[in-house]
Subunit: 477 residues, 2 copies
Amino acid sequence: MLLVAPKVAYPTASALDKAALELERALGISKATRDANACAAYASDESEAIGRAPDILVIAASRDDVVKTLAIAESCGVPVTPRAGGTGRTGGAVPVAGGIVLATHALTQVKEIDRENLLAVVEPGVVTGQLHELVEKEGLFYPPDPNSLASCMIGGNLAENAGGPRAFKYGVTREYVLGVEACLMGGRVIRCGKRTVKGVTGYDVTALFVGSEGTLGVFTEATLRLVPKPRAIATVLALFDETRRAASAVSALIAAGMVPRCLEMMDHATLDAIRSQGVAIDPRARAMLLIEADGDPTAVDDSLQKIGDSLSSHEGLVDLVAAQDASQRARLWEARRMLSRATRKIAKYKLSEDVVVPRSRIVDLLERVDVIGQKENVQHLTYGHAGDGNLHVNFLWNDDEERARVDRAIEALMRATVDLGGTLSGEHGIGIAKIPYLHFEQSEALIDLQRDLKRVFDPKELLNPGKIFPARGHSAC
Amino acid sequence: MLLVAPKVAYPTASALDKAALELERALGISKATRDANACAAYASDESEAIGRAPDILVIAASRDDVVKTLAIAESCGVPVTPRAGGTGRTGGAVPVAGGIVLATHALTQVKEIDRENLLAVVEPGVVTGQLHELVEKEGLFYPPDPNSLASCMIGGNLAENAGGPRAFKYGVTREYVLGVEACLMGGRVIRCGKRTVKGVTGYDVTALFVGSEGTLGVFTEATLRLVPKPRAIATVLALFDETRRAASAVSALIAAGMVPRCLEMMDHATLDAIRSQGVAIDPRARAMLLIEADGDPTAVDDSLQKIGDSLSSHEGLVDLVAAQDASQRARLWEARRMLSRATRKIAKYKLSEDVVVPRSRIVDLLERVDVIGQKENVQHLTYGHAGDGNLHVNFLWNDDEERARVDRAIEALMRATVDLGGTLSGEHGIGIAKIPYLHFEQSEALIDLQRDLKRVFDPKELLNPGKIFPARGHSAC
C-alpha cells in the first residue's frame, strides 16, 4: 500500500494558470474554482491513499461542462482526476498529480425508468441507494449493492465495477451496464452499448469503460439493466464453532445447486469485534454465516427449507435463526452492518482488502491469513462474500511504527491470493493502493497491452494519472 | 449484404512464398499446406459471404503452432483469418484477402472441469454441444446454446459472443467467459481474466476479446463459468391467432416478473413454412410461442402454472400444450428445430438477420418488416428469441435478379431496427455481412475508437482484415 503518491508529472504553474482562466471563462467561477479550501476537500477518498490536493476544482453541472473541462485540460496539459461519490477504497478518485478534480456528483438526473424494457438511464451523480428506492417503487430492481450505497454514486460504481453482497446471485455492476456515454480527454464524446439485453455490434467498448477506474473516460450517462423486483426475501443466520466448518457449509450449499442472493461469512475475530460493541452472540460461536434468498414466495420458502436442512446437517452448527419479515431481517443483518464501525473502534487504523480466491480455497486463504498475521504480529479479521470467494481481510493497527509490518502482511496476502488462483481485487479496484502487487497477478505483456489501450483513449496520459499501472520500467513501485 | 469481398490488401506472391516456406519448416507439411483443394474448403462459412480462398491453410495442433503462425505471418506481411467451427452467419471466418486460414478446430482438449469452483478450461476446438454433454454428466451446465451447437466450437462462440434460446434467462457467451488465452499477431501470448466469479484487476481485456470476431487475437484457451445443472425443465407451446397478440403475451409474462429460460416466437409465415413440410399445426394459429422454464422441480411447477395462467387469460390464445418429460418436450421443439430446413425448402436462397429491438418494440418491428416485404416484394418470415427482442428476420428468394430487392429490404430492416432503439446484431456479429450498416448504429467517433483499439493488438492490420469496420474514409462500403 502506498501512502505517498506515485511518480507522475505535475502540471506547470503556467499551464495551471492558463487552464484555470479558460475554465473560469468557459464554465463560470461557480463551477470552476482555485479556492484552496474547496480544493482541499477533494484531495482524498475513503481509502488511506494520500494524494496531492487539486489546484483546480470543477463541479460539472452538465455533459457540456465535462466536455469543456476535458478539452481545456488536454490543450493546457493539465491532469484531470474524475470523481463521483468519492467513496472508493483504493484511491481511484484521489488526485496524485494535482491538476483538476472533475466532480460529477451534481449530475443527478434519472432521465428514464423504462418498466417495459427493464432499464434506467441515469447520470453519474445518482446515489446508488436512491436509484434502488426509485426503481423498487416501480416494481423493478437494480442488484449491485456496495456497502457504501447510501453515499456512493453510479459514476464511481461503474468506474470501479462495484459489487456488494447480492453479487453472489446477481453479479456485479458490469452485468447491469447496457451502455454508457463517456467523455474522453480532449472532449470527444463516445456513446456505446445498447438499450437491448443482447447486442454484439462491434467491440464491447462499454465493458472496457466499466472498471477502468476513471482512466479512460468520464461517464456522463449510463443505461442500466434492471430486473423485476423479487417478491419475497428470507434471511438465515447460522453460527458455527469453527470458520473452517462454516466455509465448508458454504461449499455444501453451492455444490447442492443453491443460489441464495447473499452468502456472507464472518470469522472469529470479526465476531469478537462485534461482541466488543455490546452485541450478544452465542459464546460458542466462532464463525457466522448470513444467507439471504429472494424470488417468488414459493421459491423462497423452498430455498429457506433447503438451506436450513443443509446447514442443520452440517458439522459444527451452533445455532440457526431464520427471518422473513423486514424487522427480523434487519436484526439479523445488524452484526454485518455494524462491522465497519466495530473494527474502527478496536484499532486506530485499518486496511480492508478485497481479495478473491476460488471458492474451494477459502479455508486455505483463511489459514494463510492466520499464518501471515502471526508472523508479522498484526491484528486481523476477515469477513465478506464467501459465496463469491471474495473476502475482506482487514489488518488493524494503532501505532505508525506498526505500519511496516502491516505492509509486509498485505504483500504476503496478495502473494497468497494469487498463489491460490485468486485475484487482487473483487470490487475495490487497483487504484493507487494495489499498484505494487499488480505484477503478482498479471504478466508484463498484459500490463503493457493495457497501457497501450489507455493511450488510445488518452494519448497524453492526463486522465487520472498514476492509477492501476506501475510507472513504466517499474514492475512494482 | 456484400456478396463480394471488401477492399483489402492482398499479400504479394513473394510474401506468400516466404510465409509458406517458413510455416512448412516450423510446423511441418501435415499442418501447413498450399494444396488448392484443401485451401478451397476454407473459403466460406455458413453465411452467404463470398471471400477469397486462402493461399495457405494451417491446422494448428497446439498453442505453439498458433504462436508460430502469427509470428511468421506478421513478419512476412501475410493476412490471417482465424477459424474454429466455421458455422458463423456473417462471414467472420471467411478470408477476404486470401493469405492464411488458421484453423483451431483440432485443439479439442477439455483441460479441466472444476465442480467445486464451477468452471471449465477448454481449447477453442471443443464443440459446444459436446461441452454441454460433458459438464452435464458432472451435474453442471454451460448455458449458451447457439442453434449450431452440434458443430459450432467454443473458439467461434467466443469470437462472435454467441447466444441461443436460453440467453433469455442465462445471458450470452460473454457472461460465461472468466478468462482467455489469446495469441496476437506477431506471436505475443496474452492470458487475461480470472478463475473467480468476481475480479476487477485492471481493464476487462477478456470482454474486449469476446465478440471481437477474430480481429484482435486467436483464442487458444478459455476458462468458462458453469452453473449447477437445473433439475427440472418444462416446456409450454402456445398458439395464437395473431402475431401481435403473441408478442403482447410475451410482454405480459415479462412484466409479471417471470424468467423462463427460453421465450421463442414464430410468426404466421414461419408456421406456414413448417406446415408446408407436413407438420400439422392448428389451422387457426397464426403465431406460436415456445416457452421453457428450468430450475428446481417446485419452482418449475410453480412457473409452469403461472405461465399457463398468464397465457390462458390472454386474448387470442388458440391452444396451449405443456410438456415435462424429454420426449414430450422434443415434440414441442420439433417445429422450431426444423425451421432452418423448412425455410431452405420453400426458397432457393435465404438471408437470416438477427436484429434486436427493445422488447416493447417487437410488434412495431414486425409491422415494419411486413411493410418492407410488401414494398420490395420479398418473401419473408420472422422467428426468434422474443424474450430478448432478438428476432431472426429471414428474407427468401429464388432468382438472382431478386437480389437487389432483397438488399434494399435488408437495408430498410437495419434502418428500422436502429430507429426503434435496437441493434444490428444480437448474436451473429457484423462480420462482412453487416459492415454497410454499422454507421446506422454507431457514430464515426465510436467506429474510429474501435479501429484504434484494433491497431493496439494488430498494428499492421493483418488479423482477419476486412471485418466489422468499413474501409477508412467510407462510412459505408
